[in-house]
Symmetry: none
Amino acid sequence: MPQAPSTRWCPTSEQLMMLEELYRTGVRTPNASQIQQITAHLSHHGKIEGKNVFYWFQNHKARDRQKLRRKLSRQPLQAFSQYSSSPHFLPQLHQTFQPQRLRQGEKVHEQRQGLDLLRKLEEGQCAWITSSPSGRERETVMEMDGGGSAFCRQLKTLDLFPTRSTGVRDECGTSMSASCSVLTS
Amino acid sequence: MPQAPSTRWCPTSEQLMMLEELYRTGVRTPNASQIQQITAHLSHHGKIEGKNVFYWFQNHKARDRQKLRRKLSRQPLQAFSQYSSSPHFLPQLHQTFQPQRLRQGEKVHEQRQGLDLLRKLEEGQCAWITSSPSGRERETVMEMDGGGSAFCRQLKTLDLFPTRSTGVRDECGTSMSASCSVLTS
DNA sequence: GCAAATTAATGATTTATTCAAG
DNA sequence: CTTGAATAAATCATTAATTTGC
């Protein structure tokens, strides 16, 4: 069939890796000259023009920031957990794990609560995660050394999460189906 | 009898299946609370602690990415590989980009170039960036056509990224060993 | 068949990056 | 410019698979 001559640049894996390598090592907003050089090099690995390089860095930088923000805004849901050995616990967990999105203006600072585990693990303050919760289900899921989860306010899940992706999301999953949550307090 | 002090967690098949199910359905980086919940549930199927869950997701995600990248790098789809992937190309580019770091006072100019570019692009004055960078630029930047080694004599590797290859390990094109090179002349 | 020897997986640690707040 | 937070990448280390000589 008369394949439409792809109207847009499609980076080869090598080009992509090289761009990412440059990005990883600090290049963010290359100037004209730099773009020219990059383009020259990458052109050995496939069709490419300067504007592609320019746009790539623009987009990559932006999406990186976006990803970070999203990452920071991941909030824990309410502790519920007496399903114990329910054979249906998985679906329930899923409900709890849907990515949460908070309001735009919400201060990022108070929203983190993610995994400072690593640090705590290394510092030995990881009782909460090191200890085996095997004994019984605790309804006070975490108590985290007093000050850890003060901002663990009540979230109200509004709805939906058709998430059923099979591929590898997370990274460039710019738009993962997310449920919408709102602070109710 | 001093039982083999199994030094590390060994997931039961049930635990593994549950973790994989969670992963398949989108869980990638569970936060503290979520880890607690997962741990609580999985503990019904065998000994387990929070950090095991944490590490499991870290590793699984990382190795998934790794697998994907390795797969991608195996499909270099252009015949331009006469230059193939020169290990020198990156360092050279980096060298070019080093001067990008400016002192506080004079930062504006460089930074603004990106915007200028965009403007030009949108205004149609982007001939310089749209045009394919053939020949000319290449010469000034890299001489490597006659055997890239000639270029290397002038380079001094700073070893920003020590290429400690443990040999055996995985990897391939994922992370090109990038060292920071500087002209010594 | 069966261990010792080898190799592949994968759990656990360490190290480097990144963004952005201070 | 410095530092905090939070990974992701790299790598170390141990367990499971498998191969191999008998």
